[in-house]
Amino acid sequence: MLTNILTVALPEIIILISAMSVLLLGVFFKNKNATSLFGITQLTLLIAAYFTSQLPIESKLLAFNDMFVADSLSLYLKLLSYFGLSLVLIYSRDYLLKKNLLNGEFFSLVLFALLGINLIISSYHLLTLYMGIELLSLSLYTLVAIDRKRQEATEAAMKYFILGAVASGFLLYGFSMLYGITGSLYLNEISQQIGITEANPMILSFALVFVTVGIAFKFGAAPFQLWVPDVYQGSSTPITMFIGSIPKFASVAMLVRLLYQTLDHLVMDWQLMLLVMAITSMLLGNITAIAQTKIKRLLAYSTISHVGFMLLGLATGAITGISAALFYIATYVLMTLASFGLILCLSNQRGDIDKISDLSGLAKDQPWLAFLLLIIFLSLAGIPPTIGFYAKFSIIQATLQFGWIWPAVVAVMSALIGIYYYLRMIKIAYFDEAIKATKPSKSVHSELNLTLTMNVIALIILGLFPSTLMEIATLTSALIF
């Protein structure tokens, strides 16, 4: 039994130990030696990644009384999470060091959040899932408020906390109804029970709606997106970067686990809900983003529209849809990290970047960073030859294959609206004269620049040769069931 747990959940155990010891070590190290904490965290990620990758992709391994599962989905999403978090830490190190926030608490909270993400991804039982959600959410609320001297941050954390708590309540309510109908908390048993018993359709549909609303809240999909822009704007940039990227892996996993693996008999019912949310998110996200003047708010609305695209793929209820969404989420995180990485890079050199107009004249000051900006935003807009194009491409392919022609056309039209505001960013960086006199860049953070460059090159290389990542996503989604 113990050996079983050790093989299946070893990465989580390592993350937990590391999260606690980092907190402890942080007390002794204070701020002087944050670099060693940074190193420990990165090492943890590396070790966790190593042990995760040792798990077989083809089989479904269960542990903790079958409440915890390791399958292809968890393998794919966990490895991406480690990689993403590692990048987040590299990008945010200098910025946090300057703001005096790089301490044991930060690393510990980030690791606990990762643990929550891992739990959600690997859950095979409603309680495991809920525990993961709470662990992730509580860590995120605290992370948003970690810069406690800033009023904005506290306000954002409060908003996030209240709305998040409501969402958790919805989920829990849905879970309890499911338990009432089926008498089980195991995902596979619930699915079987719904298949055979004639459950009260009223309670079942309420359960379904509550669960879907909870998922949509955590995803930040319209019409449950209200917290996204405020939290993005209020948190300090590294935290925004974290919130905007890795937890989305957990949201995708939560959706697949709950809707595809648990409520799979109700596919006809949730399909339409997801479709409506997908289209609303795409249109609302893209149209509202046009009016934004702050970069982080703009990226928040852009996130909402990207979530809409993912939901469109997931709404098909087909394997191709999942594989397209899994491909999309990987590319989305890579692009988001690059965009926030760029903002951090610029913030370190030109002072905090807040408004979009702060980017003006970038092409003259720093042509290389301007070029990276060009690629990043073209990728977010989905213009080939960047990876963003294939992400949208595979979603639209899955939608059309399912026979949804008009949703595909709406998706494409909303992508067109998106292109407008991404182009406006490029326009400001390339064509506008600098508004405020920029100080000559103080120190060139070569390590940060190098990471960003590698990240952007990855956007192009993957854009030219997306085959491998697509194959992996397809294999993963084919092996889930």
Partner: protein, 492 residues
């Protein structure tokens, strides 16, 4: 060995030379950058010559084909091929790009290296569009092409450049996204993105009409056809000379080429159903836009509207679906490539000296610039379709084709010979002849050696094709026969 990759070389040489120039430009002086860029442009042109030499005009299929798996998950291939319809356009692209680079040092003062590099990259991407036989490969080239053009207009353009370049980008993307949906629909039907597989796929009439409309949105914007033409005058007016030249000479042809390559053979029954409307739209472009051109006060805008009107001739010829019209439309495409390029170069020559494009600021140029004046008169004549120039051949064939279809179509189309002459000759009268308007004009210097070279090359080509159009029709003949057969077959 080299022959196997001759098409890839034609695409990737200019792109890699462009990137090389971008990297090198930091440490070089303007003069060396110009020389280097010029050599690169010449190389990019010279490597397309073997395509012409080794092209087999008796064979109607695709030549020099290259196939390699690219994105196996969606069975997307790196598939290139050349036929009689793409060859003249490839040659046109590489030649005009070189000429644009050759004359660039006259009008561009800042970041010349990036300017030349953009054109080199753009040229490779456009050649890629003409050679791709896989829909997604084609789409990637088609979209990627927008990026250098977006920057060319936005960075080196006129005062209202940002508005113009964003409008250009959004209009084009609007159409091409629908085209992407059409491609994916076809993929779901055939299981492949190969254009050749698309040709043989049977489709219902309803599907064909929708597909044709989706393609139409993409290509009509690019050509541009009335009523989606409004981006073109803006883009032309704001673009630097080189940008205008490439836009008029090549980019507009991409739309017409894509109609021949995709929309017409893939959805022939849809085309047949929509044919009356398409002909009507083409005629509106020919007549109405020509009238609009007459009243313009900005000469670049005038030539831009004249371009739209001439592209109306191209689409009219293509959509008539008879051999004369098809051939005529195609020759008109190539001929317009030379003539519009020459006219935009001419305006560039004037603008570099006078820094104004208003027609009323000019007059009596012939007194100070006799050589330029003669060239300009020749190109204006060619633009209005004077026999002996290439402009005549295309228009004449299209009108003959229209006559086979219906007398009134031919009549309306032939009106353009009058309108075209009106705006071209009136422009000549106001700019070249008449009294010398002001001291600045009296002091103008005639063409320098570089300008003379560019002008005489284009003049020579205009005349050669005008006198001996078989130079083009021999190449296109076999392919266009096959293409027309494909278009005339029902696919229901």
């Amino acid at each position: 060995m080299m022959m196997n990759f001759i098409l890839s070389i034609a695409i990737w040489t200019p792109i890699s030379l462009g990137i090389l120039l971008l990297i090198l430009q930091k440490n070089l002086s303007e003069k060396i950058i110009y020389k280097l860029g010029n050599i690169f442009g010449l190389i990019a042109f010279l490597i397309t010559i073997p395509l012409y030499i080794f092209f087999d005009t008796t064979y109607s299929g695709f030549q020099f084909q290259e196939i390699a798996p690219w994105i196996s998950h969606f069975s997307i291939q790196y598939h290139l091929g050349l036929d009689g319809i793409s060859l003249p356009l490839v040659m046109l692209t590489s030649l005009i790009t070189w000429l644009v680079i050759f004359i660039s040092s006259n009008s561009i003062s800042r970041s010349l290296g990036s300017y030349i590099a953009s054109f080199l990259i753009l040229s490779g991407l456009m050649i890629g569009v003409f050679l791709a036989l896989d829909a997604i490969l084609y789409y990637v080239f088609w979209e990627a092409m927008l990026i250098p053009m977006f920057l060319l207009i936005g960075v080196w353009g006129g005062p209202n450049r940002v508005y113009a370049t964003i409008k250009f980008f959004l209009y084009t993307v609007l159409g091409s996204l629908l085209m992407l949906v059409a491609f994916i629909y076809l993929f779901n039907q055939t299981g492949s993105f190969s254009i050749i597989d698309f040709y043989s796929k049977q489709l219902s009439l309803n599907a064909q009409v929708l597909l044709f409309v989706a393609f139409f949105m993409a290509f009509a914007v690019k050509i541009p056809m009335w009523p989606v033409h409004t981006w073109l005058p803006d883009a032309h007016v704001e673009a630097p000379t080189g940008g205008s030249v490439i836009l008029a000479a090549i980019m507009l042809k991409l739309g017409a080429y894509s109609f021949i390559r995709f929309a017409m053979p893939i959805a022939p029954d849809g085309l047949l159903l929509l044919k009356p409307y398409l002909i009507a739209i083409s005629l509106i472009a020919i007549v109405y836009i020509a009238l609009v051109a007459i009243v313009q006060t900005d000469m670049k805008k005038l030539i831009a509207y004249s371009s739209i009107s001439h592209m109306g001739f191209v689409t009219l010829g293509l959509f008539m679906l008879n051999p004369l019209g098809f051939e005529g439309g195609y020759v008109q495409m190539i001929s317009h490539g030379f003539i519009s390029a020459a006219l935009f170069f001419s305006i560039g020559v004037l603008y570099d000296r006078m820094h104004t494009r208003e027609i009323k600021d000019y007059g009596g140029i012939i007194n100070s610039m006799p050589v330029f004046g003669s060239f300009f008169v020749l190109f204006a004549m060619a633009n209005s379709g004077l026999p002996g120039t290439s402009g005549f051949v295309g228009e004449f064939l299209v009108i003959l084709g229209a006559m086979q279809e219906n007398f009134w179509i031919a009549f309306l189309a032939a009106l353009t010979l009058i309108f075209g002459a009106t705006y071209s000759l009136w422009l000549v009268k106001r700019i070249i002849f008449g009294v010398v308007k002001n001291k600045k004009i009296a002091g103008l210097v005639d063409l320098n050696a570089k300008e003379f070279f560019v002008m005489s090359t284009l003049a020579g080509l205009t005349l050669i094709i005008g006198i001996y159009p078989a130079l083009i029709t021999d190449i296109t003949n076999q392919s266009s026969i096959v293409m027309l057969e494909l278009i005339q077959q029902s696919k229901i």
